[in-house]
């Protein structure tokens, strides 16, 4: 018998579902259970309102003019930066807005001016966005991850002896939900003089993350996975490595001076924000951070842990499901499974959606090397967030029980 629980957030509420308009939808009369939050989160009304407020009431560009609307937009944009910085334990000038995690990691991989011979160590469970930029600019070796989803620290230590320029870590795998021991790995990398770059897209939304406490030199995450809008993310660069990072994009807004022969970059973080940024997105990000802080990040993390336990317990109780990276340990509210005898998990995902209102993800989850190695190329993933209830998860497993006899073996 599964233990029931409801989250209790810091603002005293147990049920936040009413804040998320999408959850009021039905699919052919069936309630929606949204279990694809590792892909993107739903947005609370306050975030939607903030974005609308920018377009409806402000509308102006930032840092470009002296008029009042521009000042108001600039103020909100910079306040979003300040609050994001505080949210991750960074200085405000260490936070640059980007289009998302992928853009942030590309910006950094380009800005570090790597040569093809430079070595970059990449976690084997990395998302494509933490693999491909480094593979494009440098020589990559993989930090192995075992079948249990845990990093092989002995092998990592051996790899570090090659003195890589960069170590690209994944804080939380979007496939297995496993957390890597980042503070330990960053300290080991630092001893070898490597720059550590953290993909925090799956961790920052779910638990308190302190960039400086982790000891990483840079980290990236997206707004849309943390209740914020799509198209905006953060590249946080420690002031210690400002001088090592050149802007990847050039244009308006990132220079202090331009004449016909030379230009002078603005100080960080503005030098990393060429062109007009996603201003409405910053309004939304500020609202998202405010929403999460209102819930309390400790409570958000506790709920995430409970959902992880529930998802894994329910999956483990079914012999037709094979869990990727099973076992005890620190993980986020994600479970990826193979389904015995089911050759096309995309069809299963479609049935769960259309017949049961269960929205989940199938495929290689933008981590194809890992999923190829551990699950022959495809998994079905259920992932939770602040609005996910135990009932959502149990509905999904009931639907799987119902469907498996027809699609599996």
């Amino acid at each position: 018998m599964t233990q029931t629980h409801t989250p209790t957030y810091a603002d005293g509420r147990h049920d936040v579902r009413g804040d998320f308009p999408v959850l009021r939808r039905t699919v052919d009369g069936i309630d929606v259970s949204y279990l694809d939050s590792a892909a993107t989160s739903l947005k609370p009304q306050s975030v939607i309102d903030a974005i609308v407020r920018y377009y409806a009431e402000v509308g102006a560009n930032i840092h470009r003019g002296k008029h009042m609307l521009s000042e108001e937009a600039s103020h909100a944009y910079e306040m979003a930066r300040v609050r994001l910085a505080q949210f991750i334990g960074a200085q405000a000038n260490e936070v640059a807005f980007t289009a998302g995690t992928t853009h942030a990691l590309n910006t950094l991989a380009t800005g570090l001016r790597l040569s093809p011979d430079d070595l970059v160590l990449v976690s084997a469970d990395a998302h494509h966005s933490q693999q491909l930029p480094w593979r494009h600019h440098a020589r990559v070796e993989w930090i192995p991850v075992g079948a249990d989803g845990l990093v092989d620290l002995d092998r990592y230590a051996e790899l570090l002896r090659q003195r890589p320029r960069v170590v690209a870590l994944t804080h939380c795998s979007n496939v297995t939900g496993r957390y890597a021991p980042v503070a330990q790995m960053a300290a080991m990398a630092r001893e070898q003089g490597a720059i550590t770059v953290l993909d925090a897209a799956q961790s920052v939304p779910h638990r308190p993350v302190d960039m400086h406490a982790l000891g990483v030199d840079a980290m990236a995450f997206s707004g849309h996975k943390m209740l914020g809008p799509t198209g905006i993310g953060v590249l946080a660069i420690s002031a210690k490595i400002f001088d090592a990072v050149a802007p990847a994009d050039h244009g308006g807004g990132m220079v202090d001076w331009v004449d016909v022969e030379k230009s002078v970059w603005r100080r960080p973080p503005h030098r990393f924000e060429a062109g007009t940024p996603h201003i409405a997105g910053a309004y939304g990000m500020l609202a998202a951070v405010d929403y999460l802080e209102r819930l309390g990040m400790d409570e958000v993390a506790a709920h995430d842990t409970r959902m992880a336990q529930l998802l894994h317990r329910e999956a483990a109780a079914r012999d037709y499901l094979t869990i990727l990276a099973p076992g005890e340990g620190e993980r986020s509210g994600i479970v990826s499974v193979g389904v015995r005898g089911c050759r096309d998990l995309s069809e299963l995902a479609r049935i769960l959606s259309d017949s049961f209102g269960i929205m989940c993800r199938s495929g290689h989850l933008c981590a194809q090397p890992l999923v190829d190695e551990l699950a022959h190329g495809q998994v079905l993933r259920l992932s939770a967030y602040v609005y996910t209830t135990e009932q959502d998860a149990l509905r999904a497993f009931d639907a799987l029980d119902n469907t498996f006899p027809l699609v599996g073996a």
């Binding site: 103020h75 000038n93 100080r267």
Partner: protein
């Protein structure tokens, strides 16, 4: 008659002049059904609706300039408040009016007055938020010439985010002060405290200056201690109340009390629509005296003060006040004041374990108190106890987080505010 009311006849004249010569004020009074002759007593005067920044902003320049005044007057001083809080303002004043207000205000401190008198021509260094000067001073490649104002004031380089100021920019500021050899410094207290900490860290002597004016911002006890530790032996340090649109309005006396200039202005300290008693939190309304270019009538400063009773041991007759903070920074819950920035400062005091702090009200019931402990200090228990005291004032149901950090951001204005509210009052 109170000291406040000594200038009441002059205020009546100011209203009459404004009614005749400034179109906004004629309309303002007509709309209120008032004529200057109706304002016979201070109580009558309070019937005149207060003015606010929005009035001077919306009616600038034609509506608020007196007949015959022009912006091209060589003695006109233009002032732009930063506008980073939504309360931007472009105002003008005659330089001789500003000089008179400064001189009269400085009467509160004979020592500082002597520093000003000996400075001919005046060499002043300004160290404050970049937005407080109309020159670019926040980029490392500006030249000292490009940061020198028309009156010779040298604006020192500093980053918009004070604690993120690079060491090289601090070095540049220190070198420029030494090179410029100022008579006195015009500073934001939080900035000068930062510079003082940096000087101490470098084991450098204080820059040569006869005096240091602390304005723009609340002077916390901690900031004052950090400034005094470096400057006390070589400079006179005074707190000054000033507004960019009105100039100097109050100065700290040798006894440590701020005296408001009740000669250049007609001042009203009010609780609602009645005069404040000593000890009450009050709003300050200012009416200029003898301003022939752009008078201000019952101008709501937006700042909160407490009036002090009794005479000052320094002997100065101007009224004593305590600046409690900007109205927008006051912590309110359900509309009721819980804590002023100065009230927080009184609560925090000047403990040796604390270097810098900021209380931010995130929502009506959510608060963040972050602090930077002094190096090597045992701070955990003391911070917990302080947090409990703050919690008591905010209310038992308030959610307050208390965190030790190594960095705290400035506001976008470039000011480091120790107490700030994100909640619209």
């Amino acid at each position: 008659m109170s000291i406040f009311e000594a200038t009441f006849p002059s205020a009546q004249e100011e209203v009459a002049e404004a009614y005749e010569n400034v179109s906004f004020f004629r309309r303002h009074m007509d709309d209120a059904g008032l004529h200057p002759r109706d304002l016979r007593t201070p109580a009558d005067f309070r019937r005149l609706p207060a003015t606010a920044k929005v009035d001077y902003r919306r009616n600038f320049p034609t509506g608020v300039l007196a007949k015959g005044a022009t912006l091209s007057d060589p003695f006109v001083f233009r002032s732009q408040s930063s506008g980073t809080t939504g309360e931007r303002l472009l105002t003008i004043a005659h330089t001789f009016d500003l000089a008179e207000r400064m001189t009269t205000t400085a009467g509160a401190h004979p020592g500082m007055q002597a520093v000003f008198a000996a400075a001919r021509p005046q060499r002043v260094c300004r160290y404050a938020a970049p937005n407080c000067s109309d020159v670019e001073c926040a980029t490392p490649f500006t030249t000292s010439e490009s940061r020198t104002l028309f009156d010779g004031t040298r604006v020192l380089p500093v980053a918009h985010d004070l604690l993120a100021t690079p060491k090289s920019m601090v070095d540049q500021a220190v070198a420029e002060i030494t090179d410029y050899d100022p008579h006195w410094l015009y500073t934001d207290p939080m900035h000068l405290a930062f510079l003082s900490r940096e000087l101490s860290e470098r084991d450098l002597a204080p820059p040569p200056a006869g005096g240091a004016v602390l304005t723009y911002n609340l002077v916390t006890q901690i900031a004052r201690r950090q400034v005094d530790r470096v400057f006390r032996d070589s400079s006179i340090v005074v707190e000054v109340v000033s507004m960019s649109e009105l100039g100097w309005m109050g100065m700290e006396c040798p006894e440590g009390f701020v005296h408001m200039n009740a000669q250049s202005f007609y001042l009203e300290l009010l609780v609602g629509d009645r005069p404040a008693e000593p000890g009450e939190l009050a709003e300050m309304y200012v009416t200029s005296i003898g301003d022939q270019i752009s008078p201000h009538l019952r101008y709501n400063t937006g700042d909160i003060y407490t009036l002090l009773g009794g005479d000052c041991a320094c002997g100065h007759e101007f009224p004593r006040i305590v600046f409690e903070g900007r109205g927008r920074d006051v912590i309110r819950r359900d509309g009721a004041v819980r804590l002023t920035p100065k009230g927080l400062d009184r609560l925090v005091g000047d403990p040796g374990w604390l270097e810098l702090y900021k209380l931010r009200q995130l929502a009506d019931d959510r608060y963040s108190f972050r602090y930077i402990p002094a190096e090597g200090a045992d701070h955990t228990d003391a911070a917990k106890a302080l947090g409990e005291q703050v919690q008591e004032l905010l209310g038992a149901d308030a959610r307050l987080t208390v965190d030790a950090v190594d960095y705290i951001e400035c506001e976008r204005s470039g000011k480091f505010l120790p107490c700030v509210s994100d909640v619209e009052s």
